[in-house]
Structure formats: C-alpha cells, structure tokens
Symmetry: D2
Subunit: 424 residues, 4 copies
Amino acid sequence: MILDKQKIDSLNSDGLTLHQNKIQVLKDSIPNFEEVISKLVDFQIAIPSWALGTGGTRFGRFAGTGEPRNIEEKLEDVALLNDLTKSCNSISLHIPWDIPQDYDALRAKASDLGLHFDAVNSNTFQDQKGQDFSYKFGSLHHVNKDIRQKAIEHNIEVIQHGDKLGSKALSLWLSDGSDFPGELNFRGAFERTLESLQEIYKALPDDWKFYIEYKCFEPHFYSTTIADWGQSYLLASKLGPKAVTLVDLGHHLPGANIEQIVSLLLMEDKLAGFHFNDSKYSDDDLTAGSINPYQLFLIFHELVEGLDHKGKRHATDIGWMIDASHNVKDPIEDLLQSVEAIKLAYAQALIIDQNALTGAQNNNKVALAQDIIQDAYRTDVRPLLAEARLRSGAALSPIKAFNSLDIRNELVKERGLHSVATGL
Amino acid sequence: MILDKQKIDSLNSDGLTLHQNKIQVLKDSIPNFEEVISKLVDFQIAIPSWALGTGGTRFGRFAGTGEPRNIEEKLEDVALLNDLTKSCNSISLHIPWDIPQDYDALRAKASDLGLHFDAVNSNTFQDQKGQDFSYKFGSLHHVNKDIRQKAIEHNIEVIQHGDKLGSKALSLWLSDGSDFPGELNFRGAFERTLESLQEIYKALPDDWKFYIEYKCFEPHFYSTTIADWGQSYLLASKLGPKAVTLVDLGHHLPGANIEQIVSLLLMEDKLAGFHFNDSKYSDDDLTAGSINPYQLFLIFHELVEGLDHKGKRHATDIGWMIDASHNVKDPIEDLLQSVEAIKLAYAQALIIDQNALTGAQNNNKVALAQDIIQDAYRTDVRPLLAEARLRSGAALSPIKAFNSLDIRNELVKERGLHSVATGL
Amino acid sequence: MILDKQKIDSLNSDGLTLHQNKIQVLKDSIPNFEEVISKLVDFQIAIPSWALGTGGTRFGRFAGTGEPRNIEEKLEDVALLNDLTKSCNSISLHIPWDIPQDYDALRAKASDLGLHFDAVNSNTFQDQKGQDFSYKFGSLHHVNKDIRQKAIEHNIEVIQHGDKLGSKALSLWLSDGSDFPGELNFRGAFERTLESLQEIYKALPDDWKFYIEYKCFEPHFYSTTIADWGQSYLLASKLGPKAVTLVDLGHHLPGANIEQIVSLLLMEDKLAGFHFNDSKYSDDDLTAGSINPYQLFLIFHELVEGLDHKGKRHATDIGWMIDASHNVKDPIEDLLQSVEAIKLAYAQALIIDQNALTGAQNNNKVALAQDIIQDAYRTDVRPLLAEARLRSGAALSPIKAFNSLDIRNELVKERGLHSVATGL
Amino acid sequence: MILDKQKIDSLNSDGLTLHQNKIQVLKDSIPNFEEVISKLVDFQIAIPSWALGTGGTRFGRFAGTGEPRNIEEKLEDVALLNDLTKSCNSISLHIPWDIPQDYDALRAKASDLGLHFDAVNSNTFQDQKGQDFSYKFGSLHHVNKDIRQKAIEHNIEVIQHGDKLGSKALSLWLSDGSDFPGELNFRGAFERTLESLQEIYKALPDDWKFYIEYKCFEPHFYSTTIADWGQSYLLASKLGPKAVTLVDLGHHLPGANIEQIVSLLLMEDKLAGFHFNDSKYSDDDLTAGSINPYQLFLIFHELVEGLDHKGKRHATDIGWMIDASHNVKDPIEDLLQSVEAIKLAYAQALIIDQNALTGAQNNNKVALAQDIIQDAYRTDVRPLLAEARLRSGAALSPIKAFNSLDIRNELVKERGLHSVATGL
C-alpha cells in the first residue's frame, strides 16, 4: 500500500491555521528557530524490520492484523511511516528473519519508496530450523571453536548481504552469557569473544562501522559476556576505529545514568548510536518516551551538546534506530508514537539556552541550571515537529492521519487478517 | 520408565560407610538430630508438570531430549524424582497444558507410582488455538464482562478437573496488567478482579484453598493488577479464609525482604506456600539456591520459627512447589538440584539454636544473633539429607544416581530424541 | 523578613502582557479552564520546618547561609514562600527539632503571616542529648517495654504540642528495623509496633488523623518494620479509621508503581497524603519533579481521577507536603522549584480529557489512551499556574522574584552568614 | 591494651581435641590441604582506621563505648584484631581523620605491634573546620581551577604522609558528582578529573599504586563522576600502569555481576583490590558475608582462578581491605566477623576442584559445574581457618576469645565510656 500524497495534503489543510498561530508564538520565543526546524527536517530514525509485526513475551504472543509478510511489505510499511513523518527513510534488516533474494530489485524498490538500508543485524541467539549445531551455550564466546566459526561466518554473511544493499554498518547484539555460577569462565569467554570479533572486523569494508551492543541480562540470567558499556568499550578499543558501542536504552541496570555514558562515549569517539525504547523494569521494549520522557530529553541534551562540541553540527553522524516490541498496540501506530517522542526530546534539547547553561554550570548555580533545561523541556514543542513535517511534505498529525486514512484496514485487505511478519 | 529399587540400593551401599561416619559426627553436635531427620523425611515438594520439559525465553527455546510427551509420562518423571529423593510425592498440573482425559486411570497410575495431585493451575495468560476471544488485554480484570466470564469459567473448570483428581487447591497466577500509562484504570481493574475472584471462590469446595500469586512485572511492564503481597493479601482478605497468598521467590522488586513478607503472612494465617526458584534480576526462574542460597535459608528460618509459634510443628500445612524454567540444564537434574537446595535450607533452619537466638534478640546482641544463625548455615548438613533419604529408601546421592543409571538416555530411548513436553 | 506586597505587584506588572497572551491561547483550548484555575488557587502544600535549612548526607553537610535560627524564623521563611506562591499556607513541625514554647504567641504569629500548622512529626530515630535511654535498637518495636513506653509517650507529647497549635494530624515515620539477618524477630517486631501504635491511637483527638509512613530501607539495611504500603495498610486497618497510610515518593524499591499504590489506597479510604520529593536511586530527597516529572504527573492523574470518583472534587482532603533535603541548592529556591513542579503535574492531570480516556480504556485502544494523557502532559501549563498566582496576589514568577528581590541576602543580613537551622 | 599471648593459648587448649578431630576429616577429603592452610596463613586483610569506631547514617549516630581516641589507640585495636586472627597485620589511614605527628614513633609502635601501614586514603568529600574554600560542588572535578588545585595538593600531601610511614598505595574515593540534571557537564567533569589525577599520578613514587575507586551513587544522587568500573578503568588506562581500579562491593547498581568485573580487571592487570562489606540495597556497609555469602565466595572463586592463571600463586599481590560501618555492633566484634567471612569464602574457593570444573565448562555440563563449586561452598571449612590461626599463634575462636577475655570492657576502662574515634 502506497499513501496518496493528495490525501495527506488534504488532511493537512484542515489544521493549518491553528498550526500557523502556534508556530508564530514559538518563532518569537525561540532565537534559533530556523536552525531547529532545519535539524528536525534532517533528523531520520531507522525502522527495524522486526518492529513491523506484533512482538510477544515468553508467556505468549497476541498477534496483530495485516502484518507484512515479507521484506517487500516491510519496506512498504516503512514507506508509510516515512510518508507520514518524513523522519524514517531507512530500514534495518535482520538476518535470517529477512533474507534478501534479488538485491537489485530490492534496492530499486527501496529507492522508489524513498528509502535506503540502515545497519544490518546478525542473529546467533536462536537456532534456525534444520541447523546442525546449536547456539544453546553461546556463539562467538562458545567453548567449541567450530561453533564460534559458524557464528563468525554468519556475521560475515550478514555483512555481505548488507554490502549489496548499501548498508554501512553491522549491528551485533551478542546474547552469549551464562545462567549459573560456575557455568562459564568469564575470562575465557571474553577472550574467545574478542578473537571472534577480530575475525568479523577483518571482513568489514573500510567505510563500515561495527556496532557492538551491550545488555545487562536476558536471555541469560547470571552473566552476559558483553554486559555493560565498559565491556563493549573495551572490546571496541581492542578492535579498532571502526568498532563502536551501541546503546539500547533498555539494556541497563536499574538507576544507570545513561546520559552520562552517552556523553563519555561521544567524548571518546566510540558512540555508535541508539536503539530507542522505554522501560520501567528491564528490557521492556516499550514505546520511546512512554515511561520516562525526561530521561529521553536528558540523553538528547548530552547529544546536542556533545555533537556541537565535536564540531558535528548535525546528528546525522550517529546511528538512530527504534528497537521496541509492540505487544498491545498496532505496530505502525506505536512506531509513530516513538518517532514523535524521540523528535520531541531532540527539539527540546535543541532549544536549551546553552550559553546560559554553561554560565550557570561554571558558577555552580544548580537551581538555575535546572531551570534552564526545564524551561526547554516544559515548552510545548509539538508545533516545531509539525512545522518540520509540513516543510518536508509529511502529515501535520501523523497518528491522526494513520487513523483517519484507515491504513490498518487497508493493509488487512491487502495482506489478510492473520498474516504473520517473518521472524515472529 | 520406572526405577529399579535394587539399583538404588546397590548404589547406596557403595557410599554407606563414609556416610555413616559423617552422620556420627553430626549426631553428636545436633541435639535435635532425630527430630530434624524426621522432619526431613516428611518434607515433600510438589513438582509442576511444566518443569519436566526445557523452557525458553522470548528469544527462543533450545530443546532438551527425551521430554515427557503427555501427562502419563510427566507422572513417570515425577516418580523418578521421587524414587531418587522420596521428597517429591506429588505433581501440580497446569490446565490446559495437561488436560486429564480418564480421571480414574490417572489417579490409579499416580497412586501406583506413589504420587498424588497437588494444586491445579489455571492459565488465562495465553490464547489457546481456535479460541474465539482473546486475553490480549487481560482476563479476570478485563473491561469486557464476557471475557471475564470466560476466564471465571476456565478457573471453575480447573477446579473441577482438580477435584476429580484429588487436588485440594487452585493456584492462580493472574498475569493481567498494562504496558503503558493511561491504558488501565487501576481501581477499575482491581474491582473487576475482586468480583471475578469472588465468583471463582464460590465454586471452591469447602476443604480447598485458593492460592493467589502476585508478581511485580512481566508479561506486562507498566502495571500488574496483583503486583505485590499487599495487593494479594487485600484480595485474599476480602475473599475469605480459603483464599491465601502464594509467594514465588522470583516475583519481587530488587531488594525486597521476602523473608519478612513470609513471616507476616504466616502471622496473619494468609501464607499459601511457595513457588521456589532463584534469580539475580527478575523472574529468572533459575534453580533454587543457585544464586543466593543464604536468602533461601533465611526464608526457611522464618518458616521454622513461625510454624513452631503457630503450633504447627510440621511444615506439611504449607504448599511447597518448585517453579523454575530449565533452559540450559537437563530438567530432571535441575529439579534434583532444586530439591537438594531447598531441603538443605530447611535442614539448616531446623538446627538453629532457637533459644539462644531468642536470648540474643531480647538483649540486642546483634553480632551474637548473626553468629547463631550462621553457625547453622555454615554447618555441612548434606549428610542429614542423605540420612533422611536412606531411611526413606531413596538414593544417597540422587544426582550421581541419575547420571550413573543413565536415566536420560533411557528416556530418550523410550520417547525419542525430539519429544516435546505438552505446553511448550 | 516580610515581603513587601508592592514589590511583588511591581514585578508582576512587567510580565503581564506576555502572560495574558499565553493565557488567552490556553483559555481557548482548555474547556474546564476556570475550574482548573480555581483548583490551582485552592491547592496548598505544607512546608516541613526541616526543609528550610541545608541538609546533608552521612558523608557531611555543606551549610548554606542565612538559615532560620528558630521556629519563628522558620515561620517567616514559609511566609516568604507563601507570599511568592500563595500555595504554601502551612508549616509542618518536627519535635524535638522545633519545640514550641509559647503556643499562643506562635499561633498568633502564624495567623498574622497567613499560615497555620499542618501535621506534627515525631522523632524516635535519634537520641537527644542527655537522653538516659537509647533508640539504637528501635523505639516502638523495641524488645524492651520501657523504651517502647518512652517512644509512645513522646508521640503523645507531640500530639499535645500539635493540638495546642491547631494541627489535625500526627505524622509518624518509624525508622525501626534491623541491619543483620537474625537480629530481629519480624513477627515480634510487628506485634510490638502494633501495640505501641494502639496506645498512641488512643491518645489521638477524634478529629485527627494518624499518618503512618513506610520506607523500604534506611537507616536500617536488612529490614524495616514498616517497609511497604502493605505493612502500613495492615497496621492502619487494625488501628481504625483515623489511621491512614502516608506515601513518601522516595521510599519505594526500584520500579515500584507508586501511582497504582496511590489509586488503591484512595479506593480503600486509606490514603493519608504525600511527602513529595524525587529520586533516582533511593531516598535521595531531591527536588520534586527534578528526575522523573512524568511519574509525578501520573500520580496526580490517579489522584484527580480517584478524588472525582470518591465525590471529593477538591484535593484538599489529602495531606500534601514536601519532604526533600536541599544539599546543593538554596532551600527556599529549591522549595519554590518543588512547589512549581508539583502544581504543574496537578494542572496537567486536571486537563486530561477524562471522558475520552475512559472511552479509550473501555475499548482497549492503548495507543489512543497514551496519546490522551500525553496530550495533557505535553501542554505547557506554566501560564495556568501563573494565572492562579496572579489571582491570589502571588508572584507571576516566584523564582525570578526571589532572586531579583535578593531575598537570601536580606536573610543573611538579618540572621548572619553562618546561622544553623535547629535540628541540623 | 595488649593481649596476653598466654591467655589465648589457654583458651585454645580447651577446644583443641574437638578441632583436631574435625581437621582430620578435612585432611582426608581435601587433596591440597596443606597448600590451602598455607595460603590461609599468608592471607592478610588491612583494617581501615575509621572502622574502629561506630559509624552512623544521615539520620544519626548511636555511639559505642571505649572507642580509640587517636592513631596510637587505633593501632592497638588493629593489633588486638591481629593477635586474635593473625590475619590483619596492617592499618589503612585516612587523612585528615588520622594525621600522623611523629612518623618514626608511629612506625616503631606499629612495628612493635607486628603491624605495618597499608594504603593511605585521601578525603575531599568533606570540608574541614576552618577551611577557606569548599568541596560542596566537588574537588578534583570542580569547575574552579583553584579548588581542583587544593584537592590535588591534599592528595599529594597524603602520599607524603604515607611515604614516611611505609605505605605503598594511595587509595582515592572521589565522591564528586551532581544531584540534578543540568548541574554538571559530564564531559567537562571527566576531563577535569583526568587532568587532576594526572597531577597526582606524577607525584606518586615509582613503587606505589594508585587505587581508583568507583561508586554508582551517594553522596550525590544524579551522577557520580567515577560511577562504574568502566569509568575507573578508562581513567586508569589513561593514567598509566600504576593506576588500578578498586572494587568496593557496595558500590554497584542492583544486580551487577561483580565477580565478572573482577575477572576482567584481573585479566587486564587493572585490579587494585577490594573494599569488603556486604549490602542488600546500596552502600549499606554491612559486615562482609552477612547478607550474601555466596556472592563473596563467587568473587573469591574468580580471584583464585584468575591469580593462578596469571601465575600469581598467592593472593598477596592484591590489596584487601574491609570497609564497613558498624552501626549496631561492637566494631571489633564486627571486624572479626568480616575477617572470618572473607577467609571462609577464600578457603571455599581454594578447595574447588579446578580441573573438574574446567572439564565441565568445556563440555557445557552446567549442572555438573554448579555441583562442583557448590560442593566446595557447602563444605564446612571453619576448621581450616581455625587450623591456620592455630599455626600462626592466633585464637582458635576469635570472637569467643574477644568475649571471654572481656576485651571491650578493658578498653572502656582504659579509654572511658564515651571516647569518640577521630573522624567520627
């Protein structure tokens, strides 16, 4: 299903006057208004192919309807998201859930839809049907060299897929770990992992990045071999400049100051980017900004400040992706909410009075410093996002448009009620 | 597969002299030696039918081999466990994973194997194939009365199954909750849950108990409608004397003092019993005693002291069950380890010098009080368990016996390599 | 120091036009505008006497300047806060940190300043100089009856102080607990606490409330005798209708869903009210709304909805107090920030479209329900608070007024640089 | 007070026969018995000078009695501990709580008592009386260069004190952090800290180590500038080989796998050593092994295995210190319990069958691997510690000896009931 641009324009015209009034007020009060709008127009968030279907928990999965049945339909869903927001112009594939067959055709289709291919993701945390070996006890850290080799080869294969599609990064989440004290020799596991990563690193094209994710626990519950930013950083440092650390917001122990980690990784030129989601407990994979939107804002505050400091005036040097699991919401609607929340946080961070803040910090005026950042946070910046969308030809109100255009029903008509996304 | 008692006896005779030496030493140092042994002989832990196969996480399941294919084979696995330990003389069924067909035959088989039926468990956290409604948004707390009614009827059906098998308790884990702020009206959810529970309570035979479990999170990640002991207790109080609170060790927020909760529930005559497992993070469902055995001991310390105080000299008034998910271990071996750890904790608690402890507490001699309980904890009580097993006709060393008798391979021969336990 | 009303009016006139423009926009978009303003005008938050000086941690205290030296000066600080906000018309005293001498004079002074006396707080968590017994091992739960009696008498004395000043509630935070397994018999501690509370309850005037606070840990690190809402609720239920549960936002384990607890306590008519603060880790006692403002909003969402349901259209039936410890900020500035954050959360909750929300909930439209509450949260409601202040004769911008009127320096002139607040 | 060796011998003779019986059994079952005893004899834990008095919380301090009034008496307390255990032959001083006056006399006294000086500790987390600047907003990370310089100079002074006393390490706990979002620029704070540390590093003698501690939170509650092992490691790497990371067991977020961190730091030659204590919530500073003794054992398991791997057959290359705060116990009795728990964990780790464990790990026999380490953990190794003490001339039962020799009362007679340890 391809959205008719006319329909969006027609919806937009309804709310235009009210929008323009709101924008006028913000224009008066935000000194860097045009710069903010321009950065919001540029800011793009990759959509992971697996987020287009309904996820589940270990206790079961409650399916949605009209889910995309193959890569092509996943591309179409991303195009829908992008047409509504002009903020999602790429897809992140996951191998083997999305194995491309005809690369040229796929690139052409993506290009027609205004999309390209973001980081490719490997998977050694599951056994695939018919596999004649098992990742039950790990993959890149496995005690058995043969199984490590299989996992290395899989990652190299994923690079090759990505290369043919125009991706520029391999994203690795290594779930290897242990469930019981005694099960694993930590040092050995780390050394074997490093060795395996070095083999993969060698196969990486020069202009690629190697995103190394960390996660405190799950699916293993005693230890995870790449469990925190320090372990990811240590590996990335030993590997070389192409290797960088990926931050998934849900992969931290309770109370971790994620924004401080982001600031330090940026300082060290080792920040790969983000998997956005929100959580109250652990890796809950909830909609970005649904639980603690202030934290999301604080992370963007560090990014805006840090990127400026690095002389990278745009956020485009960083990899941005949503990684959430949509159990009780329509996946597209949920992604629209995530995109909105992420961009709101970015917009709020962009309007912080940085000079005033630096002044307050340099004089230890703590209450004032808090007021300065909360002044930005408390501002209703939704019209800024709408303005950026309007200028890019997207919908003034993406979620309203999604519902009034009855998009899910259209998809159900096309795909059937009980279609299941590959990989689920 | 039925264990040959001769084989166990023959294995036992090997280690007998060493065992007797160890027992002699303990006999000299433990004043209530015979009482401890007798309580250990009596102490029985129910085995849940779903723990006999290999569990998984939301990221996948790595199957084991020779898993029981039906209720009858699950009974046989429990019988194996019981023959090795004489500590597991009952099974806890889960409907609809184990739907009994011929009640009389099943009771007869159980009886032949020396087993009976513990609490029956209902399941409204999954949709079953072909179900014409969905528990996606809850069951007993659902906003839709028809769906609540379905869930009520399911629970009543489970009671009926249990009644015909000789069970005396319905165990309810209500997964109902919400994933996003705004999704649910908490008060409404609580009130609807109470109403639903009242309907189920009415259907409960007079000599039954209604176990109401609580869980802080998962599968829902913003709220759970029965989230903590206080909420379970509140419901149980409103329901009546048959309703009691079930404690699953993995269902608490980080840092919760579980033993204090146990002590208070026991004081209020509202302690149903336990689902034993261990965890480092959340509901990890690891082998009991594998992560924090001291906590397990402290829980038993409260139980021993509290049961004595209530004049219930034996632990048999409480429901004991293992609830763990065996991802990387052989399920039977894992259950043997759980049984051993639970009984070790019980034995350690039984040899605490309660008079000396009360004296220390009444004089605020904190270091002394710690020494008294750690003196019990640091004692190697494994020979006590072995002695209890020996007197009951079980194996001196159950895990060694399991391995030297090559039981898993025997089961694979019987059931095939890739058999899958019902419900998985 | 008494604020000159003229000065506030003069400051207000500066920002008036801009404010009126903002209000006009909100008036158009908020259907219940006048009701919201009226509720904001009525809403009052008590100031604890101990929050007017600079707090510390166990590692040290870094003093502020010009702190109030006695109860009279503490009253004056509260009057300053109230003159700036018209939202803080009462003070909560803490005995023995603030022992009143001449009750009539104190009531007259408070009355002159437009203030009254909120709940009185007892203290049995510290030994006072010259005390001939010790609370080292607890107070109301102590194994020694004589020490329990001392603690009971202290609480009754606090009631008597409060009664003479016009207070209507005794607020009890019982720090009693234990640091090591074995130290305490939990059941005994609970029973002794209940007995002690019953003695205090008897001494409570008929129109008083007994606020029973709970806290998960600190100052004791293994157990706390009133550790969670369930334990407080259990005690309050046994005591009677005057006893209710007080919620301090910083007294929960990581991940606790506080808003759900609030909803249930309100449902059961057992919600005393709040100690507001914010925290990232444990009882950090940070400025309200400084770490997770969305959580504060969600709590007010439950309150607004629950009070409406109970037919209590105003929030004045609940006890509201700030309880934070100002280590690195000026205490008055910090309290102004807390008051602002609390009222913002209240205002956001008041503009939620409750009918639409109920509709979304009853149809399980999860994304829509989130949108409805986030629509309120994302609205910039600061002008609503300003309007309520303007109508009450307070400052349009309290913090700016505090700074431009150079209030702290005036206080330093009066009280000296190194004055220390009583109790610190 | 100096312990009379005769008295210890006389106490020891009472329990000797029973002890010898127990040892005989262990000798038979532990293949490396003599090696274990020898390592236990060698193993020494430093006592921090501040642990000899009674600590407190931010809510108050309940003093003990007969506390040491000066460095000399602190040395005597350590000598008492050492005479009872022969496991504590050094003291760790804290400047400015213990400022040495006459270095030669102090060294001589220590030497007479059989003691030496372990790592010296600096303190920039408190202002000292009469200090004309403040660490309120940090020290080594302060935005003001002058204050950073003061903190640098203090650390260099501490090195000089230590150098004259024979210490070989500076132990730095930097409490610098922030309490509110916006207060601090994280990157700036890290860079300034690094610069300051480099200045101190320059002043470090060649044969010294620089221990860099980390802590997740407290006394600051939003960010800590050296918050986790990764941040400490990053600084230590940039500083050079003398800089190493110190692990305090209570300084981690809930659920952190400390033993894995230990293993990796050891692998990287960056493990300074430990501050031992135990905790249920955060930095509770409870007696080692009082809350989770299994975790302590697992840490020692990594140490024993890792040191062996590094070819460091003894544990003496690592810095071991207790860092606990004794609120409700007699400090000496508490330290005796900590020493016992630490050495028990070490002994249990030493008797693990490492070959069998490696075999199980290399074959992914998870249940077996757990059995192997739990076999060691469940062994009652108290007689091994007693034997090591007996061979060293210490007490068979140190705590019993402390009590039966009535040591605290002797100290009260010498020092008075209300003596207060310097620094408290």
